[in-house]
């Protein structure tokens, strides 16, 4: 009798917990938060622009020839996105440590996160701990001179495979 009661009650408890868990999931309207399209011809060299995708800040930094040289030297060209003849750094502007927004210092061509002192270079690769890795690259698809955030193009899939970024 006790066992039967226990069995029925635990089925009920598990079902209730499941319902509670699902109630806390992000709503479909939140998940469907659309795609962001960027027109890449509008950016200027070494001038950081912050876009927005799924409520998160997206850093776009067009690389000057000097910055491309730097990226080549550090073998970080693979972190950049080529559109036409230009290279762009497009990353989620949230520190990989605990999610603050690092600030860009154009004269030093680097990012400093004020929360815990992390630093990144002009390709958003980490140069000073505590962040464990460079800034994450959002899913993207290059479409002529446009980049669509939220869609996974072949270049992005390759980056994931090569472990250059983690899924966001």
């Amino acid at each position: 009798m006790g066992k039967a009661f226990g069995a029925v009650a635990s089925v009920g408890a598990v079902a209730t917990l499941y319902a509670m868990k699902k109630t806390w999931d992000p709503l479909p309207s939140v998940k469907a938060a659309g795609f962001t399209t960027l027109d890449m011809s509008a950016y200027e060299d070494n001038k950081l622009v912050t876009e927005k995708w799924r409520g998160k800040p997206i850093f776009v930094l067009k690389q000057s020839p000097e910055m491309v040289e730097y990226a080549k030297k550090k073998d970080e060209l693979k972190r950049l996105i080529k559109v036409g003849n230009d290279y762009f750094m497009i990353v989620v502007g949230l520190c990989t440590h605990l999610g603050c927004i690092p600030g860009y210092r154009p004269e030093r061509k680097d990012f400093l996160c004020a929360c815990h002192g992390g630093q990144y270079d002009s390709t958003a690769e980490v140069t000073k701990a505590p962040p464990p890795r460079g800034l994450d690259i959002p899913p993207f698809k290059v479409d002529g001179m446009k980049v669509v955030l939220g869609e996974e193009g072949p270049e992005y899939k390759k980056m994931l495979q090569d472990g250059i970024t983690l899924p966001v």
Binding site: W24, D25, L27, G55, C100, C115, H116
Partner: protein
């Protein structure tokens, strides 16, 4: 149907139905408190009164607060502060009490550590007290989200990100906690619910448990003396009040408790009326902006020491150190291997350990407030290592401690 007599008075009527005389005896007139204690033993009552003030001021804030990302900031900073008569009073009482309650909790905790009030039958008092500390921390954090200012938003971002657990990358868990990719409406609503309903219920239940754990072992005293409460109570009841080592909780001890509470309230309302700004971070008077992190993010003062243990390390190590800092106080009754339930100044090395811990936590608190650069980073790192080291050596130095004879 049980048997009831015709009542001779209202008191008798209630007594037949609720046994109020027995209740009064068990809870007050025959609940025994040692005489040999000092004002630090009144902190429990100070905390109970402060919690009461948080509850009452919270009820009045709740009547005008709007848990909506578009309305929350103005409902606090305009409606409550400017339109509602005496709205400022409830807000300042609530904010100041939330800060001061932690000051008293820390004094209460360190009094317990100093006098060994977690030993020999009092382990559950300590553990239930630590559960209260953790729940109060969650309550303070969830409340800090509600004005939806810049510090609310970014503290919410940083603290919920902790749940991705570093290299485990549990982004799904973080998004589940937030109900969104970033803190938004779902996040504000659920933290509002936690702050005004679930966590206060848990706190009230835990306060009940905390009092319950105190009942059998009784309150400790300044010398850690083992008292035969039945024998001393018998002396007291026989009229030998001078000889007895105990007094009744009410009204005898309560009178002293209330004296300390009165002094505390003078200090408290001085802060509420003249120095509330220490509990009101200026950065949080800017509305939340998901696209701009404030220059320098720091938690309220009472979280700074554990924040500083997180900060000097790389993510994974930092999280482990932070986790260590959160749970280690729970284990105090078991890490202290000494047979002595005595005040620290009678316990040799433990006395130095106690003060080293206090000083180290003050250093961590100071470094947590300063920007994480240069010499401050280094001092913070060493203070964090010292904190961990102190807890590692605790079982060793307390094991070496000789038994103190009466």
């Amino acid at each position: 149907m049980a048997h009831f007599e015709k009542a001779t008075s209202l008191h008798d009527w209630l007594n037949q139905r609720l046994a109020i005389d027995t209740l009064r005896r068990v809870l007050a007139t025959e609940y025994w408190i040692p005489k040999n204690i000092n004002f630090l033993w009144a902190m429990g009552m100070v905390l109970a009164i402060t919690f009461g003030m948080l509850l009452i001021s919270g009820i009045f804030l709740l009547m005008y607060y709007q848990p909506n990302v578009d309305l929350a900031f103005d409902s606090v900073n305009y409606t409550i502060m400017k339109e509602v008569e005496f709205g400022w009073l409830w807000r300042h009482v609530h904010g100041v009490a939330a800060s001061v309650v932690f000051l008293i909790i820390y004094i209460h905790m360190f009094t317990g550590i100093y006098y060994g009030s977690y030993k020999k039958g009092r382990e559950l008092i300590w553990i239930s007290g630590m559960l209260l500390f953790v729940t109060f921390s969650a309550e303070a954090f969830s409340g800090y989200m509600l004005p939806w200012g810049q510090m609310s938003y970014w503290a919410g971002m940083v603290i919920t990100n902790l749940f991705s657990l570093g290299d485990l990358h549990l982004n799904g868990l973080v998004e589940w906690i937030r109900g969104d990719y970033v803190p938004g409406q779902a996040f504000l609503n659920r933290f509002f619910m936690l702050h005004v309903l679930l966590l206060p219920l848990v706190i009230i239940a835990l306060i009940g448990l905390h009092f319950g754990t105190l009942r059998i072992p009784h309150v400790n005293n300044q010398e850690g003396e083992e008292i035969d409460f039945d024998e001393e109570a018998a002396k007291y009841k026989a009229g030998k009040k001078k000889e007895a080592k105990v007094i009744a909780f009410a009204n005898d001890f309560l009178a002293k408790d209330m004296f300390v509470v009165s002094i505390f309230l003078i200090f408290f309302f001085y802060l509420v009326f003249y120095h509330y700004e220490f509990a009101m971070d200026p950065v949080n008077f800017d509305p939340a902006d998901p696209l701009k992190t404030p220059e320098h993010i720091y938690p309220e003062w009472y979280f700074l020491w554990s924040y500083e243990i997180l900060r000097p390390f790389s993510t994974n190590v930092g999280l482990i150190a932070f986790g260590f800092a959160q749970v280690i106080f729970f284990l105090l009754p078991f890490l202290d291997r000494s047979p002595n339930a005595k005040p620290a100044h009678k316990r040799g090395l433990f006395f130095y350990w106690f003060w080293a811990l206090v000083i180290d936590m003050i250093v961590l608190t100071a470094m947590g407030k300063l920007p994480p650069e240069g010499i401050f980073s280094t001092i913070g790192l060493y203070a964090a290592l010292t904190f961990i080291g102190l807890w590692i050596i605790l079982p060793i130095i307390t094991k070496m401690e000789k038994e103190v004879k009466e």
